[in-house]
Symmetry: C7
């Protein structure tokens, strides 16, 4: 069996709810629609949270990969 | 069906209103005219917002990709 | 018709007045003489503004692309 | 005998408990599931620690490589 | 006529006095001896200025390109 | 005789004690087991020092190259 | 005559005393033993200075290129 690769974990999370955290400490929650090898990421039904509080609902959002620190399937 | 890619979401937003946020916390709203794989982005009828308040109207603006954190179609 | 690309907007601004803002918040105004794919940029008759006030007149200036956040034709 | 390479140390830690520290000082502990040459890393049963205190349990987490400073097998 | 390129402006400044500013706000003045596509730059008879005051005379200095924000021929 | 290259100095330090300092000011001391062209580095019997005081013993540690400022054989 | 290139200045400084300054404001003085195109640099008989005061003597030191702002032959 091949050892698994990091993007496999993101592939499994497609169309599922994920948390994405950015270098500027912003947190977004939404449905993972797309990502690429740079970790550019698109969420649907995205919501921005600050300190655990909902700050705004955004709909679709494109996040530039180099600003992302982590992605966690919920 | 092919899994969608992040730039597909930007392609759908062409000629539509988007919000662009930068690493320095500036926010621009305008019509998405162009972007490339580096996420260099051109907006038309751009307006700069600071803390939700309109700061200035700019017309056409070129934003260097590596300064962008997110793009959200409105 | 081909979708437009970000550098097309800069090409249209050649030999015209532009505003260039840097990551360190400096702002330069001048005539756009040259740029490349890294967004290295040369202005003529350049002036540096701080908080909207003219700080110095510089003549020709070479700006390294990775320090630039935005370029706006005036 | 070939001199060992840095990723050999990560390969040995596969499916074992590791500590991962980020540039923003966050610390994650979990089971190392996957990594690539960019050091993009996936942990299972991940827990986030702040100042040595457990902050949250996360399950699976994808960490973007360029945000990581160190990985230590436990 | 070919549109001019940013490095043309630096080529014209060879063996002439230039001001170089760095991301850490240091300013160097000296004779531009050499540069490359990364904007690695060598000055001769270099002087470091802080807030417009001469801080030290250095002679020859190699400046790593990615630390440079601007180069202005004097 | 060929001029020496920077990685030659690291090669000579293999299996010897080194000090590694990071951009976040952390200092690690340990035995240099492996490094690559990105300066990704693995230490054995690693110890973390803060302001010259031993903070923790870690065993094996993988340090991502872009976080390293210097490596000094002891 | 070919225009000179930035690394020529470093080549001339081989086996001579240089000052190296880092992005974190540390200054090292020592004999330039080796460098490469990334400006990874090795000094011998290196000394670290803080605010002009000798802080420590280090012997051989490897400095990662992307942390270096300037190199000045003494």
């Amino acid at each position: 069996m091949e050892p698994s690769r990091p993007l496999d974990a993101l592939n499994k999370a497609r169309n599922k709810k994920v948390i994405v955290e950015l270098k500027n400490s912003k947190q977004f929650r939404g449905t993972l629609i797309a990502f690429d090898i740079h970790i550019n990421t698109v969420l649907d039904d995205a919501e921005e949270y600050v300190d655990g509080e909902l700050k705004r609902k955004i709909g679709t959002i494109f996040l530039r990969g180099d600003t992302i620190t982590l992605i966690a399937p919920q």
